[in-house]
Amino acid sequence: MADSKTDTPLPPPTHAQSIASPINLVLFALLLTLVYLRLRPKPPPTLSRAPPPIVFRTFTPPMLKPYNGENNMPVYLAVNGKVFDVSNGRNFYGPGGPYENFAGRDASRGLACGSFDEDMLTKDLEGPLDDLKGLGGEEWEAMRGWEERFQEKYLVVGKLVAVGDPEASKEG
C-alpha cells in the first residue's frame, strides 16, 4: 500500500487546500459580515421634532391684517373676539378663495349676515371693534354656528381686542 501511494500523482490542489480554499474564505467573510450587521447596535427610531406649539396672542386689527395667507403667512380670521388659524382651509379663506375678504380680518358680521362683501368688514382698523349692533336673532344664531364649527375644526390661536386696549399693550 505504501508503495502504491508513492506511485500515485500528487492529489489535485483542491483537495490539499480544502479548508482554506478561496471559496471557503469568501463564504466565511460573508458569514462574518452578516454576523456583524446583525449584532451591530442600531439606534432606536427617532421622529423629527414636531412643530412647536403656536403661542396664544392678543391681536389688534392691524396686527391681524398680515395673517391673510399672502407671502407665505398663515391665514387667521376673527369671529366674535376669537382668532382662528384657518390655514388648513386655505382654499376657502386664503387668497383667491371665496372667503378671502375675511382673511386677517374680523369676520363676525360677514359670517352672521352670510355676506362676503367688503362693507361687512370694519373699515377703520385703528378704531374700536365691531360691536355687532344691529344684528338680528337669526344672524346671531348664524354667527354662533360658525364659531362652533370653527372651534371644532380649527385652533383658537389668540383673541382680538381693539387698538389701545390695555390687554393689547401688554403684548408689546
Binding site: T14, Q17, I23, L27, L31, L34, P52, P53, I54, R57
Partner: protein, 556 residues
Amino acid sequence: MAEGSSLLQQLDAGLEQLFAGWSIYTTLLCLGLVTYLLYPVFFTRDPDTHPLLLARQCSPSYVRQPGESAVYRSLETPLSYPLKSGLNVKEPGAPRWAAGKDGDLRDVWKKALRGPIDDEGKPAGEPGKIYTVLGSEGVTEHRLSDVTKEINAVGEYLVQHGAKRVAIHVPNSIEFLVTLFAASFYSFVPVIVLQEQSSEALSDVLKTTHADTLITAAGSVSLQALLEQHPGLKQVIWVVERTSRHMDWNEVPEGVGGKAEIAVWHDIIEERKSLAPTGLPTYNVEKPPPNVFAVSQGALTKGYQVGEFTQHNIVAAIAAQLSVLPRPHRINSSDMLLSLAPLSSSYPLTIALAALYSNASLALTSVSGEKVPYDAAFRRVKPTIVIAAPSTIREACKTFREQPRGMLQKYAIWQQTKSLAEGIMPKLSSEHPRPRLIYTFESSDNRADPLTLAELEDLRLLTGARTAYAFTDAKVAGAIAQTSIYDYRRSEDGEQAAFGGPLSSVEFKLVDENGHKNSDEKALGKLVVTGPAVVGGETKVDRFMTVTDFNTLAYA
C-alpha cells in the same frame, strides 16, 4: 468584442477556479450561512410595542399660552376628550353601552367581594384573597367575606362611639384596609398617617386634621404625651400583635384617665363578629362617602403634607392606573400584589385599590418603607406585582451589578441587554419567584437623585419584570406621570430616567418662573397639574421640570 469575451472568459475561469475549491467544509459553511439567514424569520419576536409609540409618549396641545408650555395629555385622552374621571361602574348585567358611574371606594370593595364576572354578569372565578405575611409565623389567609365582617364590626363600633375623624397609623395590614373601607361604608373621615412619625409629629398631624380617634399599634406611641398635645383625641384603639394579646391593653395610664376611651382592636372584632352582618352594609348610593385625608412625609416641606382627597380624586386615579396598562398586562384575578412601600402613600394605595378592583389578591407585610430590601417581597409569598420605593430598587440593582459572574452568565446578560435594546422583554429563567410588574415612584418633595436609566435596566435584567416609574405629589391622587411599561430604552450611563407621559386622570403644563422660561425649543418651568385626580382640581408642584424629546416628563 474579443476583449469583452476574453474578460468574460477570464471571469468564467476565475469562477470555475473558485468553485473548484468546493469541499465538505464549503458545504458546511453554506449550510451555516443559510441557517443564520433563516433563523430570525422563525425565531425573532416583534418589539413589545411600536417604537414610534415610545418616540412620542403623550400629546401636547397645538397652542400654548404665553409664559406657559403646551398642555400635555395622555395618548388615551387626547385634547378635546374628557379626562378619565372614574371607574365607569355598571351593575352586573347592565347593557354594554350603558354609561357607568364614576363610583367610589365602596364600589372598589363591592367589586372585590363579588369576584370576577364574565360579560353576562355570571361569576367567573373566585374572589381575590388577602394574605398577611407575619415574619416567622407564616402567612394568614383572609377571605374577603370575613374581612367584610370586620369592616362591619369596626364601622359599627366607631359610629356608635361617635368617631368623626379616624386617624389610621398602622403598617400595611388588614387593620389598615378594614378601617379605610369602614370609613367609606360608615361615613367617617379616614386620616391616613404615614408610619414612623415621632410622637410630636403625630400629635401635630392629629391636631391639624382634627382627628378624634386614633388607631395605632399598641405601645407604638406615648398616650400621655399625645393627649397632652392634642386633647381633642377622644378614643384610641390599640392594634395588638398576636404575641402580646395576653397583656391588658384596656388599662388607661395614670394621670390620663377619663380623657380618652381605650379599646383593643381584636376585642372589638371578637365581640361583634358574630353579630355583625356578613354582607355589605346598606348605604345610600347617592351620597358619596367622605373625603380621605392622606398625610405624607415630605423632606422639603415642614415635616408633612396633608392631601384631602375626594372620592372622585381617588377613583379617577384608580381608573387611570387600570387603563394605562396595555391589554395583555392588565391586572387580573391571578395576580397577587405586594407593596414594600407604605400604603399610606397615595401611589401604592392607588395601585393596591386598582388590584382589589381587578379581583387580584393582596399580600400585606408590615415591613415597608425606604430601607426595606427587595427580597423582603418574596418571603413566604410569590407576588406577581411589587411596589417598592426607589431606594429599595437602587439597593437591589447595586447588589445585582456587583454579583460575580462566569462567562456564560455574562453572555446571557449581554443577550438580554441586547434584547431590551430591541424593545423585547427577555424571558428569564424561573428559578426565582418573578414578579411581572414592578411599580416604583418618586415623590415631588423628595430631593434624592431619581433612578437612572441604567438602574432601571438592571432592574429589568434582575427581575424580568416590566417597570413603571412614576412621579407623584401629595396633592395628586395616584401619580402625575408614569413611564410606559414597554419603554426599555437607555442611552448613556448615569442619565436620569424620565417619568413618562401623564396618566389619563390628569394633564399638565409648565409655567415660567425665576428665569426658567418656556420657548419654542424647550418646555421648562414649574409643573402645574390639573384634572379629576388633583385635589381642588389644580395644583402647582414645587419643582422645575422639562419635557424630553420623547414627550416624557423629567426633572429640569
